[in-house]
Every structure is written in C-alpha cells, then in structure tokens.
Amino acid sequence: MTIIELTNVKKTYALGKVEVEAVRGVSFAIEKGDFISIAGPSGSGKSTILNLIGCIDTPTAGTVDIEGRPTAGLSDKELTILRHDAIGFIFQSFNLIPVLDVYENIEFPLLMGAGGPPKKERRAWVESLVAEVGLEQWRRHKPNELSGGQRQRVAIARALVTRPRIVLADEPTANLDSKTGEQIISLMKKINREIATTFIFSTHDPSIVQEADHVIRLHDGEVVENVRTTEAAAVRSVE
C-alpha cells in the first residue's frame, strides 16, 4: 500500500539573485511499513526531499501525497496537525529541548496537540518508549548530560511517541561514530519491524544504505536509482 507518493516534484531556492534547483522533477512512491534510505552525496537533494515529505517545506512544482492526501493547498494549521499526527522527525543534530530531561523530551509532542491520551496512559506509553530505546537509567537526565547516541535514542523515542505512520530521519548517524550509528540504525529497523512504521532516512554512508529495504538514490536533484533491497543488492554486486 502506497503511503507516500511524489509526482514530478521540483524545488527551487532563491540564493540571492540566483535560483538553485535543489530537486528537479522527482517522482517515486513509498510503501507502508518500508525501511527506506534516501541516499546520495551532499547537495543531491536528500534533505529537501525529506522536508517535502515531512510537510515542513512546499514544492515549487509537482505534488506530494501523504496517505493518499495531496499536501498542496493545505493551510499552515492543517499541515501542522498532519505533521503532529502522521509524521515523526529524527534530526541530524538531535534537536532535543535543552531544558527538558529524557522523559520530558519524549513526552513533549503529546502535550502540544489537543486531546492527547490521559495522563496515566501517556505515562505508561512514554515509559515503554524510554525502555525501548534503553534509557531507563537516564530518564531524568538533560540532553547535555547524554552522549550523542543516547540523544539520538531520545529523538527516536520522541519521533515515535505520537504513534506516527511515517518517521523521517535526516542523516540520523551523521553526528555519531560508526558503531553508534549502526546501533541507531538497528534500533530504527527493530522498531520498524515491530510496529510497522514507515522509516525514511537520508544518508550518504553506504554501510547504512545497505540496511534499507528500499533505496532511492539521488544525484543533483534527480533520482538516479530507485530499487527494493534485493534489487539494490543485485545492483551493488554488478557494480
């Protein structure tokens, strides 16, 4: 079942008087529950694609459909609600709220929208996520008291707390050492398998890319490869 569909999407940024085409007519579809890597070198348009899928940026041309619903024409309020309810974000720089501890950071998205779960239920759910990412002993620690890997674990738990159908991760291992990066990807994959949430992560690290079920490779704002795992493995072996 297709959960995300991009059709001939273009994105142009104005850089002073010069217009830069970050994405040039990209089209692809993502199936529900996939573990997808958007790969490519720096400047290839990976982050722009994630921003467009995450409804935090709008395309210059083309359409982005989330769960069969076109995002074009949605108001700021509608996009905010869509982000809150359907999409979780994991940022390269973790982006945790510095004054909140681990537990509070994970809980935070539940406190922003109206009509969240009751307190008791919320607490149990957040505690289960704290346990899921292995931070029980660190639950009252502030972000500046955690390692990079621990911070990214908090970010993963926070991205999952609203039970989103899609989790977007923008180079989630970029600020981590390779071992920690692998652990983070393993954790994401484990959660993806357990709760069937669609994970889309951008990376330029080939060792991370091979963990994906579906690889979309970009170069200069265009899709140069769009393959499922087995196909991707075959392509790699031919190369």
Binding site: S47, I56, R83, N95, F108, P109, D170
Partner: protein
C-alpha cells in the same frame, strides 16, 4: 506543572545573564512604581486631610461667573472681568434642600468668601486675609479636623473671628503685635459697593490636626461681616454696628468708604450687574434680604469616591431647574493650591512611563536575541506539530514568568526601602514636599490597590515587550529545525 511553565522557569535559570538583564530592569521598574505609588497613596491621603477635611469638602457648588472661562474657588474669582465678583449663589435655599435630600450627602454648609486686610486701630500695618464667612451651626461638623488652642468657636448669631495659629503667627509678623483672644481688629474689605471697614474680635484660635496649605491666609468670621466687607447683600436684622464702628463712622465724613449694612445692601441691589441668565436674575431679585446671600455650598459625602457621580447628577438637576450654579470637585474649591497635586502626579506618571518605555525597549531587544538563539528549538517544535499559538504561548509564559518573579523580588526590595525610609522619619521641607509626604514626616505605605496596580503595570510592560519577539518567533519555519546545529 504545565510543560510550558516548566520550560519557562528552566529557561530563566539556564539563561542566567539574559534573565538577569530583564530581571534587573523589572526590579528597577517595580521599585520605582511601588515607591511612586506609595508616595501617591500617601499624598492622596494627605491631600484628603489637607483640603477635603479642612475646608473644601468633597463637592463644591457655586454660581456661574459672568465671564466665560472665569473660575471660582473658595479663595475667589480668577479670570473674571475687572468689576466682577464671586457670583452670589442663586436659589441657595432650594439647592441646599435638594442637596441635603440626596442619600449620598452626609453634611452640607454654606460659605461666603471675601478678600481683605486686617489691621489694628491706630496702626498702618495690615495683614492680607481671606475671610471665610461661615454658618457656625453646620460648618464645624464638616470641617472638624481642628482643635481649639484658645478661646471658643463661633456660635450661631455670634459676631467675631476665629483664626488659625498659623494665621496668628503670620499676622503678628505683619502687624508687629502679639494678638490674642479678645483683641479687636479692623477688617477692611472691597467689593463692588466700595471700600468697607468693620471691627471684629478674635474669639478663638484653632490649629489643624493635619498639614494645611493656604490656611494661614484664612480667618473664619460670621457670614454677615464678610457679606458687608464684600458687598454681598446682607440681612439688616443680623447686623448691628458696634461702638467702635459707630465711632469710626462718626470720626470721618467719608461715608462712602464706610458702608453700613443698609447702604451695602442698597448698593448691592443698585450696582450688582444683572446676571446673564434670567433664572439667576430672578432668583437674585427674589432673594429675601433677611435670608442673607452665600457664595458657596460645601458638601461632604458618605463616600468620597461618589463625588463624580454626585457632581454629574447635581449639575443635571441644576440645569434642569435653570439655576445658574454648578457643582465641582474639591480641586475646583481649593483653586491654585490643588494644581500642585496634579503637577506632582503628572511628574510621577511621566517618570513611570519613561521607565516603562526604556524597560520595554531593552526587554524587547533581549527577547529578540533569545528568539534568534532559539530558532532551532522553535523550528523543532513547529516540525513536531506545535501550532503557532503554542509558540506564542511559550514566549508569553516565559515573559510573564520572568516579569512576575522579578516583579515580586522588586516589590520585596521596595517594601524594604519603604521600611528604611519610614524609620528615617524624613521631614518635609516645604509645601510641595508636605503634599508629597502627606504630612510633616514622610511615611510610605502601599495600598492593596497599588500593589495590584504595580503587578498589572509590570505584566503590561512584559506583554508589550514580548509582542515583537513573538512576531519574530512566529516567522520561524519548521524547516529551520533541519538547519540547526
């Protein structure tokens, strides 16, 4: 605790330097506001005792002067024509009955005022005096904040003068004498009927419980004496020439400068210019000579805060009755002396305004810097699904938290300063400081209303200061979360 308040309080603690910049401004502003408000409260109480309790009452009714723009106070007419005198109160008895029938009124009395000179027989020295011709039956009940130093008060029907200790000191200086109760004085007055001289005896000396201003110029006399001195119509039956007055009259042929009650009355009737309004003219001509005329009605209310509504209602009634009289507040009655109070208040409010503007600008800049530093955090919140109002609410909470916390610290410091100031018992050097101090010694005290006022001003400053930074914050796009390091 709500998450936004948690974030606000922790941000205040985390960003110590910024919090201290904003906080110190708030503390400084609050100290100024609290001390200013305390001073205004104190001054307000002092003003009440100085004017309302001593000689103006809550509401003051007077006839309307002929000259447009002219103003009447208890001390006389200003801005009127050269020959214009304080207007005689039209339909006095009817207005008095109406006023006394109002449930808000506790007491009312009538007064006639005249400016004149006081001297001793055989001496050329004179002391300027404002004569308050009063009704001894009702006046002391309204203005009871005095105590008798010597002699007695004026009794109904009694002729004589009651003076204040301040007046006595001042007059002794001018007359080079040692006046005391029982001494006879020559009172000189000038009205439209000409120059008048009367003899009167000091029957009592009083002093005020509270500080006063302008009262050193005042002597209280029986109303008829003042009526004669000021050429206001007077009851023929009430005026009896004393022996010295008769002697004085016999001693000179210049009768025109020694008006008898009869000549005064006839002169008044003959020379008083016709009032502009017909009803006033009718009331003047109809006024019985035996009743005596008055310049003012002074009214005390059960609750001074009802003065404005009482004035409004009374003026509406006067207008509906076609009576050429108007009611005003104590400031109108006190005339020039009250203006200083307004000046002081304006100075304080301007100071508070300036401090507020400075505080708003500095707070605004500090908050804008804070917003810029937290662009990533705001973008992250927006990306995670925080609506714009939530971001606004976060900054509002933080601004209010910082202003309230430091506001309370400021109030505590201000209370400490007040305690120190009160213990120093700083004396008032002159009238202006007496008005500000509300007495001879500065004693500051903050009323609950002023406390609330301070909190509201501080919160208001915070609200205004957070507006621009919030506009900047609301422009932060969720995509900026991706760009934060």
């Amino acid at each position: 605790m709500p998450v936004l308040l948690r974030i606000a309080l922790r941000n205040i603690r985390e960003h110590t330097s910024k919090s201290l910049i904003i906080g110190s401004l708030v503390v400084l502003g609050v100290i100024i506001i609290v001390l200013g408000n305390s001073l205004l409260d104190t001054a307000s109480e002092g003003v009440h005792r100085m004017f309302i309790d001593n000689y103006t009452g809550d509401v003051f009714l007077t006839g309307i002067p002929r000259t447009p723009g002219a103003t009447v106070s208890l001390f006389g007419l200003s801005g009127g024509g050269e020959t214009e005198a304080i207007p005689v109160f039209p339909d006095h008895d009817a207005v008095l009955v109406h006023v006394q029938g109002d449930r808000r009124v506790t007491l009312a009395t009538s007064q006639v005022t005249g400016l004149g000179l006081v001297g001793l027989e055989g001496s050329d020295n004179r002391a300027i005096t404002v004569f308050f011709g009063i009704d001894p039956a009702t006046y002391p009940a309204l203005f009871h904040d005095t105590f008798l130093v010597s002699g007695s008060s004026l009794r109904p029907g009694q002729e004589g003068l009651v003076v204040s200790r301040g007046w006595l000191t001042s007059a002794n200086k001018s007359l080079k004498s040692e006046l005391t109760v029982g001494d006879k004085l020559l009172l000189n007055g000038f009205g439209h009927a000409g120059f008048k001289i009367r003899e009167s005896t000091i029957v009592g000396v009083v002093d005020f419980n509270a500080e006063t201003q302008g009262m050193d110029l005042i002597a209280w006399a029986n109303a008829d004496t003042v009526r004669v001195l000021t050429s206001v119509d007077v009851s023929a039956d009430d005026v009896v020439l004393t022996k010295s007055q008769t002697d004085l009259l016999n001693a000179t042929s210049e009768n025109d400068i020694f008006g008898s009650p009869e000549t005064s009355m006839s002169a008044a009737a003959a020379r008083t210019p016709a009032p502009e309004s017909a009803p006033a003219a009718a009331s003047l001509s109809a006024a019985p000579a035996t009743a005596g005329s008055w310049h003012f009605l002074l009214v005390r209310l059960a609750d001074s805060r009802q003065a404005d509504s009482f004035i409004k209602d009374t003026n509406a009634w006067l207008e509906s009755q076609g009576i050429a009289a108007r009611a005003g507040g104590w400031k109108v009655a006190a005339g020039p002396f009250a203006q200083s109070i307004d000046v002081i208040r304006i100075v304080f409010y301007v100071a508070i305004l300036i401090v507020s503007i400075v505080a708003i600008i500095i707070m605004m800049n500090t908050l804008v810097i804070s917003v810029m530093e937290r662009t990533g955090e705001i973008g992250t919140m927006r990306a995670l699904g925080a609506r714009k109002y939530y971001v606004w609410l976060m900054f509002l909470t933080e601004t209010l938290a910082v202003t309230v916390i430091f506001g309370l610290i400021g109030i505590a410091i201000a209370a400490g300063i007040e305690g120190i100031v009160n213990s120093l018992r700083i004396p008032a050097a002159n009238f202006f400081t007496q008005v500000i101090f509300g007495g001879k010694v500065l004693h500051l005290g903050l009323s609950p209303l002023s406390f609330l006022n301070t909190i509201l001003i501080v919160a208001g400053v915070g609200l205004v200061a957070h507006l621009y930074p919030v506009i900047v914050a609301l422009k932060v796009q969720p995509v900026q979360a991706m760009q934060s390091e």
